[in-house]
Structure formats: structure tokens, C-alpha cells
Assembly symmetry: D2
């Protein structure tokens, strides 16, 4: 626990969860901007879950950039550099395409500060990584540093107040492999999927390092994607070929935040462990018995679930066929569909974020859950 | 409410739920038979959920027939005719391949009958149907008659005591289409999928007719797969090319049953409606608050869930992409994966039966749930 | 045979086939424009085959619009209206993502006209169709009229000189269904897929009507997608939700064209009928024995193949499983992969266009093939 | 070149190619046996291509075993041990489910021996392999020895007369991994897919070693699945969990064979190289110009194609998306569909065998083709 510095600015943070009818549907964003409900220059991050195959992520991102560029007076490319756009694609089951917008602005000190800490967000980027750095300790350390930067930017002074860290990192691509080969620089793997997985693992370890969940002395190059006992319980990582640096967004609570929200987190030990959802809600301030009432459900602004069903072959000793049946090529989608459905059945809403990533993100087979709750006072 | 006839025999019914490591794994069945825990000639029905694509159903069935034939002293083909083997294939998500065995034997009147009705099962077949009868009122009526026969065989005298009716009917095949064409007999559809779907719809209406959920005067050829307001809430139907007649298995409770189990049913109004699971449990005699305790979960012998996620495009106004995304060809699997996950999260076990079929089986988008519970007294 | 009118302008047509590394890769287009090899204002049509699921079509289109808009001094939306962009998505097998650019400009009468007719292209749109007009005779007639307009624009005076007509028509969408319902206007089908298929069928019949392949007296509302004996042998149709009118591009040869190319067409009677490819090449002026020499292959500028493998269940009495196996949801992709591979094995190049559409586009099970050949003189 | 030993017996070999309507369809086999066209005790091997997902292989095998057991007077399990049943599953595109039966019997020396060598087949098994031997040099050597045994059994004295070697080896399974772990025996990989792939690679190297395509001095444990310059051009390997030993079938020509057939082989350098098919035909004695006449096509009894499309990312510098698009989980099926289509377009028949396996079976991206031709004299 650290003492709050008096010079930290007061922040107001807004969260908007917006359905999309297709990857190019930015009508909800447009309406928020046109109505001045949301100001373009206050947007600090977007986490989106578009439908479609991988390329739909870039499509959704481009459409948002095109919508925001004229309002910010910058080019669409500059929008991409300014606002981390975390596109978590590949929907399955009940997953409902949508995006979550985060806005932040400095405000004057309130006459009556909230009685408890409130939601704040911070963002940061690492420097551009060279392909040969993907999946290495260098990436671990750069990400840890960026996470710390984002935490500071969010005005968070106690690591216990950090509840969700989302990282988007560069994926290995054929072009990047070729670049490294031309430089004579050895990469962690010449297999695109493995190299990208290693990169994600390094990011997750970086989060765990920054949050002091993983002791620095346990970290070395050999543990990446090997030592499954090391993990963060508050981070989610995905990779994309469109990224060249690691983009970080931190959600936590701060005593200098005046937002109407609080964030919390919990862990579902396995796919059936709905108690983990209640833990996340309680951690955000919504103390509730099962089942939630409609009023309690309406307090839930958004849930972020990082799914681990595809990291193990069974649940409570019941074998599943995610990795062995003829749909094994879609294991990640299946894992997300399952986790989305279970959490949705608790919160009463399927338009929540589900991501898959089992590289040092929770113990194998567990789900990491973050909840943003609207405060009632 | 009908008065119980004094001449009904006393029945004892057993239920075994057995995991399978592959469609041809009958080791669990063999062990039950070898150890005399289960007697081959008391088996009255098998409901199985093998993994693999469609043909795995026939494979699993054949392996069971081969295991049972020498023990029954009949041919494998005769086993198929004697014991309805309901193979519900295509696993997704956490679904865990398994089969449920039902055994029944006549017993002497007990000195102390159970205080309340107990699980009983009955089976019946329609006559062989001609392809041109698939999806017609004739099929509706034949199935209704068979369901009534199975109810009587189960010793059930009150329709309210019927909680789950499983029907396997013939699917339309190219050979059957050709037969009908050669006879000049018009079929309901020359599209294999549509004809089979019509056949399933007719069966479901037949269940609803037998259970008096659908008034006979509302039935005519035009309502099949068209009038979605007509449905059974206690039936599940699937089709298979290996069947030539409709096979019916009825589960209910009877005051002449001495089994250790009770069955009940409930309806999940939509995919997130876990209250429907509790209704099914309570209907079977397990009155519980959410969440279930481990002791309560251990009382649950098996759950049968008929899923409707793929019958509608949204859940509580949240759009899903089951029918529009690139996995749309696997809509039924996705629907089952989702329903399995939600119900499994309540009962703490993913090795439960999930079937998909939205032809007159519940209101569109709902799930029908049946529960078999072990009685504690 | 019609006499060429003296007032038709002389046209020069260019064709560029450009590989794409991803749906958003417009680097090839940019290079052609930057080097003045291609002038933006001479582009009359683009036929593209991007990879990815359905949404990649819109993504590719948007990226091209963004590239062309500043060069044309119009908005990206206006580019879409000006240039028909026929996005034929969903790659499989060896299919190689690419696009084909068509440019056209008026030129002075040459001193020495080519000895034979040369490639020309024409484009036209129908008016915007109302959803209730999709799949109707109205659509047939509007498309026929647009095809005639495009033929005239191309400077073609003899229908025998038309070798390939590509049409992109509106697909039925939920929003359009809702609009029609609100207006009380009955649509041909409330099933999105069926309505879109009917729309494609109507377009194909419209092409056949314009090309006088189908006698007008055989046309009525009942034949659409029912009478498979009526078809065009020179047309290919696809549908997209982004279209509101039908966009038409005609390729043919004209005695007023000075391009270096000729186009021809042929029919593969079934998937193994490589003779049909040779017919198409000969029709374009490349008379060759099997197998083609490398020199002959290098003359081939582009092939357009409309595939029919998924319209029938067998090839030369050998059953295939495209519609019955566990990949049945991808029947169109499989059909294209197969046709692409066979034609590619003849022409020595897999970067050719494959489209699937069996609504009145060739006899069921046949492939329609168009070839653009570079003239050697 | 070895001198033919005078004591080798004269052999007659028959080949039957039989369509199947489903994995359990053995009606063609039954008809051949019932009509005495084929004698059960002369069957030496079966190569089948059933549709359906992986389990359909075991299903097809079991159905054949059940059909043959009573005719051979042995148990179904003993049929499996006696007759190598090579089940090559997973159909795509035009692939047409079927099986090829090989029968062999000793005959008296003919009065007039055929003018040239004729088709013969030989079979052999390795001993049962322990899981820790999968993918090792031990497996390479055991397979090489078995191939030599099968060659000798076939009465082949010159390695140049061997044209096709089919091997089915054990796949790694969870149970086998567990066994090895219990024994403390290290396996080549604890990843099931990688271990099975290594096992296939070892088998292919074993074939190459036996056929003297690979010099023994180049072989060591490190080259397996790493040194792609080492490969057989006449072998095809698949793995299955049902196998515990490696099963080998060799096809070649022998001067002591009186069958009506000859076998040959060729290599398609890439997926478009139809010349390789003509090489295989010529190697079998069918010297033909492209395209084949119908009479020539009718001489072709069966083609075996081992496909390599999925081993590389492009064909003649044209990128494909087999490994990167949303169907990447089905890369092997796509590779087979493509190769089947191209070869089928040459031979006029899609009911030919397509297998995928790029571990030391041909240079990466090439197809290995074997042809059985009926001799006309």
C-alpha cells in the first residue's frame, strides 16, 4: 500500500459498450460523438470484439480510424498510433459483436470526492520491437515497464488496485521472419504461430512482473511458455500483425478518480466455476448472492473474460474434445464460446468480451474475469 | 389424473452414465456386464453422445451391438431392433462423450413402497414408415400412438408424470428419395435436410399430441415446421438414416417403480435462464437454492438438454453470429456447446446430454431440460 | 451479325492482374498508379478475390476506395458508386488472392486497326432495387437492360462477341427484410440465403435474356431457380449486402478496340472436362493442343471460372461428399478450390478467378470459363 | 539389378476398386466374395478412402473385418492382424469414397509367361513398437527391414521394380504417452501431433532407405522431419491409433507375376505438374500423349496420389492460403482435394486415392503418383 501523492490530477473516466452489426459498423460510435456524449479527444482506448475471420479485426479498426480521424484532425494512421485499439476477433456461440470505448479527462478536484476509489484507465506503448525480440526476456521487461507507465498514468498508486491489464503485441509475420533472417538475427521460432505464442507469453510474464505476481528471480528465457506455474491473474494478451510495439491498457481503481464505475477481478478455477464471477463482481463492489437480481445485473457495465478451456483436455475430470475433434482448428473460438456462455448466464448478458490466451494468463484451464460495475451512490 | 390400475407390475429401473474415450469404446459397458452390475437382458435403452462426425453414431451403435449380441444370444442386427440406441452425435465445447444405459426389470411388490413415485422408462416403436410419410400427419399420429404405448409400458398412469420423451426417427436419404420417386409417391421435400427436419417436426408434434400439450384440433399438415406456437416441452427428437421406424423412449415417475431415482423437467426460456435448470431439479425432487452444493450436485445422475440457441438470432436482444459467421455450418454444434456449458456450470458436470432440435421442441430459443436425480431416502 | 456503326468511338482497354498479400493490400494498385502505368480515372472495373471470410470483401473494397478517392478527387463512397468493385471472396485450396483491374480510354482511330476484334469492356448499373423485387421478373428485366447498356457502352454490336458478363447484385439482409415487412411488401423468401439465391438466379436469367440465350417467352416468375434448363453460358453472378443496385461488367471483343487483348469463353461440361478450357482459349484466339507450352501459358492474362461442382452430387458417376461430409458448410469454397486447381493445371497459374454460383449459370455441374489472352501480333 | 532366382513362385495378383456409399458400406466386397470373383483367403491388403472424420476409418475397418471374419473362419480382430487395412480418411472436394482390394495367389508356371513384368504385391509388418521408439532411428530401421521383406515376398528382385510402398504406422495417443511416462521412457515429443508426424517421417525414411533412395550414412536421429532433402519418391505413410506395429504394402512389377496389371510411378513437381501423371502412366506401360483418350483412361485401374500442397505456401510463386485462412485446420483435406482434382482431370476419374503426408515423402510441394494399368495384350 502506497500513500497517494497529492499532485496526482483528478480524472473522470467513462465507459461505453456499443453493439456492432458488422465489423464496419461504427454507427454507435458516430452517434455518441455526434451527440457529444463522447468527445473524440477524450477516447483513450477501444477494446472490440468484431465477428468474422482474422481480417475483420483490421477492418473494424480501419473503420474506427476513419470515423475518428476528421474529428481529431489527424490522419487515420495517426489515430491508430494514438488510441490503442484492441481488436479481439473470432466470435462463437452466443458471443455478441461489440466494442467498449474508454474515455478519460482531467477534472477539477470535486467538492465531495467519492467515498471509495473509482475506475481509472491508463495506456502506454513499448518501443517498436524487432522480430528477434519477440518472445524474449527483453519483451518481458519492456512490457513490464509499459504496464508500470500505464499504471502511473492512470493515477494508481497501489498495485492491488490494478484489476485488468490488456496487452496487444506484434504477431510474427512472414515479412518479419524474412527481415530477421536477412539481418542474421535468430528468432525464438520460425513457426509463425509458435513465435507469436511466445510473444504473448512474454507479454503475460511482463504483466505479472509489473504487478509483482511473479518474482523477478524466477524469470529467465527458459520459462517463457514452459513454466506454467508462473502467470498473471489480471492480464490478457493478444497478438496482431498490425502492431509493431506492445500496446498496454490498464484498468484499476484510484482515489483520484471521479468516474461512476469501479473495476474488480476474479478467477474461475475452471470453466464451471461461476463463483469466480461473483468474486470479480464483489471485487468491484457488487456484493451479491447467486443468482443476481435484475437490478444487480443492470449495474454491470462490462465483463472481460480471458478463457482457458483450450489449455487443458478436461473439466473436473470430464474429457472434452476441443483439441481432438474435427473442429479442433477452432479450439480458441470454442473456448471463448463456452466461457462467454457461462459468464453470460450469470450476468444475464452475452455481449461481454471473451478472449482466449493461455500463455501465462492464469493457471491452465482457468478463466480470468474482470468486471466494471456502475456505482449506485 | 388417472387412477392407478392395481394390476400394473412393479418395476425397478437402473441408470448408468458411462464415459467413452472414443466412439468404439464400450469398455464401460463391458465392465458393468462382466461384473453383473448390469444384466444385458434388462437393458431397455441407450442414449449416447459420441464424438466425431455423423458416422461416429453408427460406429458407436455397432460396437455396442457387437458387445451385447453374444450376451443376449442374438445377432447384432437383432440387438439394434430390440434396444433403442439413441445416438446423439457431434460434440462441441466442453461436451464430454458418454452414454446413458437404462435397465428395467419386474420385481415383486415391495414391503415398503417408496413414499413417492420413482423413475420408470418405457419404450415403443412405430411401424416402419414409408419415405412419403416422413413429415406428415401420419407420422404425427404414429408417434403419438407409440408414445402412449411407451407410457403404458412404463406403468405411468398420469401424463403429468412423463418428463422426458426421446424419439429417434428415420432421416430422409438419397435411397429413400429414389424409392419414393420410383413409386410415384410425393414426399414432403426432395431436399434431404428439409425432409428430415419435417420428419423431426412431425415426431415432436406427435409427442405433444400424446402428452396433451397440443390440442388435436390444431393439428393439420400445414402446421408442421410452420406454426412455432405448437410444441412439446418434454420431448427431444433426432433423425438418423439407420432408422426405418420411429423409436421412442419415455422417462417418467410411477407409483409402481422402486428405482432409486426420480425424473423431472424444466424449461430454460432462453440460453441464459439457469432458473429453468433449477425447475427441472425441483420437478425431480431436488429443491435447491442457487448455487448447488457439492452434495446436491452429486445427487444428479444425468441431465438431458435439448438446445434452441440456433433457432433464434439473439439472446435477450443481444445478437449472436451462430447463423451468419464462418462457422454457420456448425450451428447445431455451437448451440449444444453453449447449452451444455451453461447447464454444466449449474450442475458441476459437463458430461451431460445435449441435443439440438428446434422443430416443435420448446418455444424458439428455449432449452428443454430433464433431470434424473438419485433419491436420498 | 450486325454492321458496325461508324460513330462508335475507338477504345483502348488495359487489364492488370495484381496479387494481394491480404485483403487490405493495395500496394500493387498504388504502384501502378504512382508509376502512371494505370490512370485512376481510366479504371472502369475491378474484380477481386480476397482471402478471409465474407467481411474481407468489404475490407478490400474499402481499402481500394481509400486509395482511389484522393486520386479521383472524390469521396471513397463516390468511388464505390463510380467503379463496380466485384469482390469474389472465400478462397480455398490453391486459390491465390488477387485482383484484376480494367481500364478503358477513348483513343483516336488508329492508322492500322488490328486485324481482328479486340477486348473491350462496358459497365452499367440497374436502378436501386427494392427488397421485394429481388428474385423477381422485374430484376430479370432490369439486369437484361443493364447488360444491353454495358454491351453498347463497350462498343460491341454483335452478341456473339460478348464472352463474359459479371454481375454483382444486392443480397437480402435482415434490415432489408425488415424494410419490406414494414412496407407490407411480400418478398420472394424471408430466408436470407434463399432470397439472395433467387436474386442471383434472376440476374443470371437477365444475362441470358440479354444475350439471347434464353427466349423471352420461356421466362416467368416460376422458372427462377426452378427450371435448370434455362441458363446463361457466359455469365457469373454474386450477391453482396453492400450493393443496392445490380452492377454489370461486360467483356467482349470489338472491331473498334485497339487493346492488346482478346477474350473468349468455353464450357467445362463437368469438373474434369479440361477440353472446355481449351475451347475458351481458342475462342479468344489461342489455338493450342494439350498441354500448353510455357509460351502459350504466358499469353494468358486472366481466366474467370464460374464453378458448378456443388450443384450436383457426383462427377462422371463418381459420388463426392461436398454436400454430405462435415465440411458441407463450405461447399462453395470446395467447389471453387476444385475448379481452380483443374484450370490452373492447364494454364499453369493458380492466380485465376474462381466464383461459385449455380443459379442459371451453366448447366448443373458445369464450369463456365472465360479467358483473356494477349495478342502476339 | 539382381538376377531373378529360379525358385521364386509364380504369383497372380488381382485388384478391385470398389465405391462405398458410407464408411460402413461393404456391399461391394460382399458381392465380390459371394460371386466368387474374389476369394477371402487371397486378400492380402485393402487401401480405403472412407468419408467422415477420423473415426470413420476405424468404422470402415471394423465393418470389413466383420464381413471377412466368418469367411476366413477367424475372429474380426484376427482379420485386422492378417490383412493390412490402410484406411486413408478425410475426403474433400471431388474425392469419391472407395476401397481398393488386393488379392494374390500362387499359380503354376504359365506356358507362355507375359512378355514383361507384371503387378505383384507383398506385405510385411514390423514388430510392435514401443511409444518411445516412435519417430526414432529404430523405427526407420524396422520399417526398412519390413519393406525389404515385403519386396521379397512380392517376388521382386530389382528395387527399380518397386513403384509404391504404403505404410500405416502407430499414431501417438494419450494412453501411449502415459505408458511411456510411467516407464520413464522419453518420447520424441509429448505433443500428440508432433510425435505422430515424427513417426511418419521415420517410416518414410525407412522406405527411402530400403529402396536405396537415401544413403544410410546420411541418416541420423537429427534428420527426421528436419532434413527435407532426404525423401522417398515412392512411398506414402499414414498413422493411426489403431496400429501398434508398422504395416507395409509394396506394389511393384515382377517377372514371376502373371497378373493382368502393371504398376508405375511418377512425380508431380508441383500441384500443377500434370506431366508427372503421364510419367507414372508411362512407367506402368501406358505411353500416352495429353489428353488421354477414353480408351486409355479405361485402362487405368487405380491411381495413388500422395499430396504435398500443404507442405509449401505457394505454387509457382503464387501464394495460396491453405495454412493461413480460416479453414487452416483442414489443410490436409484441402491438399488432397486439390491433388485429387488435378489428377482426376487427367485420368477422367475422381475415385482415386489421395493421401496427405509431407514427412520425407517427396520434395516439399510435390505429389507422388502411382498408377496401376491394365495390360492390353
Amino acid at each position: 500500500m502506497t500513500h497517494a501523492q497529492p499532485d496526482r490530477p483528478w480524472l473522470d473516466v467513462s465507459v461505453f459498450r456499443v453493439p456492432m452489426t458488422a465489423p464496419d459498423d461504427v454507427s454507435g460510435l458516430r452517434q455518441l460523438l455526434d451527440s457529444d456524449t463522447l468527445k473524440a479527444d477524450e477516447i483513450v482506448g477501444i477494446i472490440a470484439q468484431p465477428e468474422g475471420s482474422g481480417y475483420a479485426r483490421g477492418y473494424a479498426s480501419l473503420c474506427m480510424q476513419l470515423e475518428l480521424a476528421p474529428r481529431l484532425g489527424i490522419s487515420p494512421e495517426a489515430v491508430f498510433d494514438r488510441i490503442p485499439m484492441m481488436m479481439i476477433g473470432l466470435c462463437g456461440g452466443l458471443m455478441s459483436p461489440h466494442y467498449t470505448l474508454f474515455a478519460r479527462r482531467s477534472v477539477d478536484a470535486p467538492d465531495t470526492p467519492p467515498a471509495e476509489s473509482r475506475l481509472t484507465v491508463g495506456i502506454a506503448d513499448t518501443r517498436v520491437l524487432r522480430p528477434e525480440e519477440y518472445g524474449t526476456l527483453t519483451q518481458v521487461e519492456l512490457v513490464a515497464e509499459a504496464v508500470k507507465g500505464a499504471i502511473a498514468q492512470a493515477g494508481i498508486t497501489d498495485l492491488a488496485d490494478v484489476h485488468c491489464v490488456e496487452v496487444k503485441c506484434p504477431a510474427m509475420t512472414p515479412a518479419r521472419l524474412a527481415d530477421a533472417a536477412q539481418q542474421g538475427a535468430p528468432v525464438v521460432s520460425t513457426n509463425l504461430g509458435q513465435a507469436s505464442s511466445m510473444a504473448k507469453g512474454a507479454c503475460a510474464l511482463g504483466i505479472g512482473l509489473a504487478l509483482e505476481e511473479i518474482p523477478p528471480e524466477k524469470l529467465n528465457a527458459d520459462v517463457i511458455n514452459r513454466n506454467r506455474a508462473l502467470y498473471t491473474s489480471r492480464g490478457s494478451v493478444s497478438a496482431g500483425g498490425e502492431q509493431s510495439a506492445c500496446r498496454v491498457m490498464v484498468m484499476g481503481n484510484s482515489d483520484r478518480a471521479v468516474s461512476r464505475y469501479r473495476v474488480g477481478h476474479g478467477v474461475m478455477q475452471d470453466q464451471l466455476d461461476t463463483a469466480g464471477v461473483y468474486t470479480a463482481l464483489a471485487s468491484a463492489g457488487l456484493y451479491a448472492q447467486s443468482p443476481l437480481t435484475a437490478a444487480q445485473q443492470s449495474q454491470i457495465v462490462q465483463m472481460f473474460v480471458n478463457c482457458g478451456a483450450d489449455a487443458v483436455g478436461s473439466v473436473r475430470d470430464r474429457r472434452h474434445t476441443i483439441h481432438s475433434d474435427f473442429l479442433a482448428g477452432y479450439a480458441g473460438i470454442m473456448a471463448k464460446a463456452v466461457a462467454n456462455a457461462v459468464v453470460a448466464s450469470v450476468v444475464g448478458d452475452s455481449m461481454i468480451l471473451a478472449s482466449a490466451g493461455n500463455e501465462h494468463q492464469g493457471a491452465p484451464g482457468s478463466n480470468l474475469v474482470a468486471a466494471i460495475i456502475e456505482c449506485m451512490d
